[in-house]
Amino acid sequence: MPLPPEQSFHAEHLWVRPLPDGSALVGISSYAAERLGEVVYVDYPRPGSDIAQGTAFGTIESSKVVSDLVAPVDGHVLETSEGIDQSLARVNADPEGEGWILRIRPATEPGPEPLFTAEQYRRQLGDPG
């Protein structure tokens, strides 16, 4: 199944959003960002490395917890937000938009695990809104 054209979510709270040039952004959900609290460090993968759906590609560290960043899809890392001004603050301020973490080239087949629309994802979290 190809990557859905809209932003879609993996059960481990990361999202993936295709860009017009064929690449895709990856980030954490607002739910995850809220649970984490203030993000103090992201341990990024190296550009040029591959990520595999359902497998940790790095960690995200807040003042409360260190969590694995679990890839929502298979892909190849093109760019990270490391070094981008205010990148950590953006993760907190706009996790599903400007606070992206990776830009990847998604695999043709993104992986066997299901991806959810924003509405499906939030319903799973028990969020009626």
């Binding site: 103090v40 460090y41 341990d43 960690t59 560290e61 409360k64 917890v65 260190v66």
Partner: protein, 471 residues
Amino acid sequence: MSKHIVVVGGGPAGYVAALHATSLGARATLIEADSLGGTCLNRGCIPTKTLVAACSLLEGIRSAAGFGIDIQGGVSARWPAMLANATRVVGGMKQGVRALLSQRGVELVSGHARLHGERTVHVDGHGSVHGDFVLLCTGSRPVRPKAFPFDGRTVCTSDDLLQWDSLPASIAIVGDGVIACEFAFILNTLGVAVTIVGASERPAAMLDLDISAVLGREMRKKGIRFLGGAPVEQIVAAGDGVEVRRGGGDTVKAERALVCVGRSPNTEGLQLEAAGLAVGHRGEIFVDPFMQTCAAGIYAAGDVTGRVTLAHAASAQARLAVEHMLGHAPAPIDDALIPTAVFTAPEIGCVGLTEQAARAAGIEVRTGSFDTRGLGKAQAMGALAGLTKVVADADSGRVLGVHIIGAHASDMVHEAVAAMQYGASVDDLVATIRAHPTLSEGLSEAAEDVFGQATHKPIARPRGERHALAA
């Protein structure tokens, strides 16, 4: 008449042996060719920990604003002054050792020693000393691979680094063990661009994987580059610096190279063959569990045995040797209960089996861990990075290993050492009440987590299952 023990080497094995011998009523002669205190006091533990303390203070000052403290003006580290402080500390401690030896009546002889027949040692310029027993504690020195062009400055060992008059802008540290990692953090804090070039896939690979993972993350966080997985084949001078060439063809350029690839026992010149002693391929002297060599009345302790190259292990071995000489029937040392302290930032304290070693030995294990940032004290200190991990035997619940990375880990590990010494179970660790708020609470939580029931973590296993390890 009291027994006479001739001790060769005045480091943490030798001088402790001499002191212990006199406390047990023996007469001791201590022969030292260089400087009392050995590598530990002169070129190792103490000067480097003085530098670590300076770096820790510097980091504290840099993060002062977060605690509501404004620092007016700039803060800078002066390397020569930092070394001078280390020299002052070392000097004071050396005086202390000398005073203790004098107070105990230890006869101190300065000179190179070599064995000269049965339980007799010849000291250059002093003649021969014959004892009832001889204890060899000549320590070790950094390995200096012949292929590397050592010049004491551009390509050097940790011994040379402590003589530098200035710091380089960049350094390639060859090796990925404890000493390499400690210097990586020291130099990084002082503004040197550090690249560790190691043969292992991860820093300090002898540590538990989870601890090494936190260490690796802290390195990346601080901008220490770690290039693992291929041994260094060549170091060559290049322009104003060096090129470190790895297997596989890639190269690291830096102003200087620090080589930390292990230590080699000091046995040359001892004339071991005069006493019929053989050495291993690294030059280490073989000993039995009581530190006896194959020659009657001759013992060895510390790094020269190649067993556990740690100062506290050397001291323990020396005490054991002396007690055995004097007929006190000591129990052999269980090497698994010798703690390791690593002074990275944050520091590390470990004892016993790693999860990986236990599994490799065919032991079914259960583990528990707790992130240091979950502790109130860590939050108050702003010392979030860290982890406490407990490795236990799944059947008996016996604690097999405790691994801590985080602030004060090197001090905290000793609770686990004592517990393991007395065969503690995970239940014993859980039942121990620790003061709040302290970093030691991490051990309570990690022990509870073995049952999936850490108080300050999401519950992983319901209470109904009870604290049954084998469940």
